[in-house]
C-alpha cells in the first residue's frame, strides 16, 4: 500500500511538472474568480448592512392641526403600525416644536421667549422599520399617514433621504448585475480552462488506461491536483480579498465616518463555503476527464 501511495505521489508530481504552465493558468484563473466573486459578495453584504443603517435615519413627520392628547396616542400608534412596521414613534406638541426651534437658533433663541406656543404646529415623527428602503414604499406610507385624523401634511425627511435611497438602490442594482456577470464569467473561465486542460490530457489518460492502470491510479493524481488547485487558488483569492478589504477600511477610518457604515469581512462560514465549493469544482473538473474511460 505504501508502494501504491508513493507511486501515485510520483505520478502526481510528474503531472504537475509537465503541465505546470496550464496548472499555473488554472490556478490564477481560480484565484481571480474567487477574488472577484467574493469581492462582490463582500460589497453586497456590506451594502445590505449599510442599507439598513441608512433607512434607520429615515423619518416621516406628520404635521397636525392640534396636539394629540396622551390618551389618544395608542390609537394612533396602532393605526400607523397596522400599515407598516415601525421602529419608533415620537409625538411632539406645539411646545416641543418651539423648544426645537429655540435650540436651532442657538444663543439667539431667547428672542422667541415672548411668543406663545401657538404658532408652530404639533407633529408625529415616525421612524419606519429598516426594511423600508424603497422610495415608492416610503411615498405610499406617507400617503397613508396623511389620511390620519387631524393630519395637516406629511413630510418625509429631507431631499437627502430621497437621494441616498436612490443611490443605494442604484448601487445595489449595479452590484447585483456586475456580481451576476462575474459569477457567469468566473464559471465560464474555470470550466473552459478545465475543458482545455482535459482535452490536452486526453491522449495521455487513454494510453494509461489501455496499459491497464487501475481506476485509483488514474483518478488519484487528478483528485490531488484538483484539491491542490482548489485550496491554493481559493486561498490566494481570499487572502487577496482580505488585504483589499483592509486597505479599503484603512482608507475610510476617518473620525465619524466609521459610524455611518460598519465594515465587516465575510463571516467564517461563508469563507469556508467558498473554499469548499472551489475545491469541489476543481476536483470535479479534473475528474471529468477520465469519465469517458471509466464508466462511473
Amino acid at each position: 500500500m505504501n508502494l501504491h501511495l508513493s507511486s501515485i505521489i510520483v505520478q502526481t508530481a510528474r503531472n504537475l511538472k509537465h503541465t505546470w504552465g496550464t496548472q499555473l493558468m488554472t490556478l490564477i484563473t481560480v484565484s481571480l474568480s474567487v477574488l472577484m466573486f467574493s469581492f462582490f459578495f463582500l460589497i453586497f453584504l456590506n451594502l445590505k448592512q449599510a442599507g439598513g443603517q441608512i433607512s434607520k435615519n429615515i423619518r416621516l413627520i406628520i404635521y397636525l392641526n392640534n396636539d394629540i392628547p396622551a390618551a389618544a396616542q395608542p390609537q394612533y400608534i396602532q393605526k400607523i403600525k397596522s400599515f407598516n412596521k415601525v421602529d419608533k414613534i415620537i409625538f411632539k406638541t406645539r411646545n416641543d416644536a418651539l423648544r426645537q426651534l429655540r435650540q436651532q437658533l442657538g444663543k439667539d433663541g431667547d428672542v422667541l421667549d415672548d411668543l406663545t406656543a401657538g404658532f408652530l404646529p404639533p407633529s408625529i415623527e415616525v421612524y419606519p422599520a429598516r426594511d423600508l428602503v424603497s422610495l415608492a414604499k416610503i411615498k405610499r406610507f406617507s400617503d397613508f399617514l396623511a389620511t390620519l385624523p387631524g393630519a395637516q401634511k406629511v413630510q418625509y425627511g429631507h431631499k437627502w433621504i430621497e437621494r441616498l435611497s436612490y443611490f443605494t438602490q442604484l448601487i445595489r442594482l449595479i452590484v447585483l448585475l456586475s456580481g451576476g456577470l462575474l459569477v457567469l464569467t468566473a464559471t465560464f473561465m474555470v470550466s473552459s480552462t478545465i475543458r482545455l486542460t482535459v482535452v490536452s490530457r486526453n491522449d495521455e489518460l487513454e494510453i494509461l488506461h489501455i496499459l491497464g492502470a487501475s481506476k485509483s491510479y488514474l483518478q488519484m493524481p487528478l483528485i490531488i491536483e484538483g484539491l491542490l488547485q482548489g485550496v491554493i487558488g481559493s486561498g490566494i483569492g481570499l487572502l487577496c480579498l482580505y488585504f483589499l478589504f483592509n486597505y479599503i477600511r484603512s482608507r475610510f477610518t476617518g473620525p465619524g465616518l466609521m459610524s455611518i457604515i460598519h465594515f465587516s469581512f465575510l463571516p467564517p462560514p461563508t469563507t469556508a463555503a467558498i473554499l469548499i465549493i472551489s475545491i469541489l469544482l476543481c476536483t470535479t473538473g479534473s475528474i471529468i476527464s477520465i469519465r469517458k474511460f471509466l464508466r462511473f
Binding site: E204, L208, L211, G212
Partner: protein, 238 residues
C-alpha cells in the same frame, strides 16, 4: 462443442465482427483460439484488419458482434476492475507506438511496471536490460520526439515487454527497423516466449514469419484466408 479447447485457450474469438461506423467491415465472423505459450503471426494486406484484431484482444475496441475471451474473461461482460487486470497481463506494441510524449524513454518503459506497483529496483534492472538488448543505450533520459522513428519503435516494444506479460501483441514491430535491429527484437520475443509468453505478431515482413517456426494466420478483407476447416483450431482462424 469445443469446450476443451476453450478451456485451454488463453485467447478465443467466436464469430467476431467489427464494423467501424458507418459501414467499414474490418472483421467478418472471425473465430480463433490461441493456447498459452503459442506464437502466431498475423499477416495480410494493408487494411485487412490485423490491427483491429489486436485492438479487440486488449479491449481497445469493442466487437460489433461475437464473443471474445481473454485469460478466461468474457470481454463483453467484464468489470472495469477486471478489465484493467486483464490489460495488465497484455503487453502491446502499437503500430503507432502510443508513447507518452512528456515522459522520457525510461519513464515510458517503466509505466506498465509502475501501474502494477513494481518495486523501483526491479524496474530499474529490467529497463537497463531492455535498453541494452534493444540497442538503446544512452537514450534513457530523452523524450520520444527526439528519437529516430526506429528508436521510438524499439521503445514501444520495450514497454510492451517490460512487465513479462503473459500475452504480448506486436503490431508491425519491425516496420521501421533494419535487419540487425529486427533480429534483436525477434530475440527478445523468443526469450519471452520461452518463459511462457503467448505472442501474436502482426506483420507484412516475410523474413519475420517465414524464418520463424510458427503458425501464420492470413487475413484478407476481414476474414481468414484458409477456411477449409469448420471448427476453430488452435491458433488457426476460421
Amino acid at each position: 462443442m469445443n469446450v476443451q479447447q476453450s478451456k485451454t485457450a488463453i485467447i478465443e474469438f467466436i464469430k467476431v465482427n467489427k464494423i467501424y461506423p458507418p459501414d467499414v467491415i474490418a472483421l467478418r465472423d472471425v473465430s480463433l483460439a490461441i493456447k498459452p505459450g503459442e506464437i502466431v503471426f498475423l499477416t495480410g494486406m494493408s487494411g485487412a484488419g490485423k490491427t483491429t484484431l489486436l485492438k479487440l484482444i486488449c479491449a481497445m475496441e469493442q466487437p460489433t458482434k461475437g464473443l471474445i475471451e481473454v485469460a478466461g474473461h468474457d470481454l463483453g461482460r467484464i468489470s472495469l476492475k477486471n478489465m484493467q487486470l486483464v490489460r495488465q497481463k497484455i503487453g502491446m506494441a502499437y503500430q503507432d507506438f502510443k508513447l507518452l510524449p512528456k515522459l522520457t524513454v525510461y519513464q515510458n518503459i517503466a509505466m506498465p511496471m509502475e501501474i502494477t506497483f513494481t518495486p523501483p529496483k526491479t524496474i530499474r534492472d529490467r529497463i537497463n536490460y531492455l535498453l541494452d538488448t534493444l540497442n538503446l543505450h544512452g537514450k534513457a533520459d530523452i523524450k520520444p520526439d527526439k528519437l529516430s522513428r526506429g528508436e521510438q519503435q524499439r521503445v514501444a516494444i520495450a514497454r510492451a515487454a517490460a512487465n513479462y506479460p503473459p500475452i504480448l501483441l506486436a503490431d508491425e514491430p519491425t516496420g521501421n527497423l533494419d535487419r540487425e535491429n529486427s533480429d534483436l527484437v525477434i530475440k527478445l520475443f523468443a526469450q519471452l516466449n520461452r518463459a511462457g509468453t503467448t505472442l501474436i505478431i502482426a506483420t507484412h515482413d516475410p523474413v519475420l514469419y517465414k524464418s520463424y517456426p510458427a503458425q501464420t494466420l492470413e487475413l484478407s478483407q476481414g476474414q481468414f484466408v484458409f477456411k477449409d476447416q469448420a471448427t476453430p483450431k488452435t491458433a488457426t482462424g476460421e
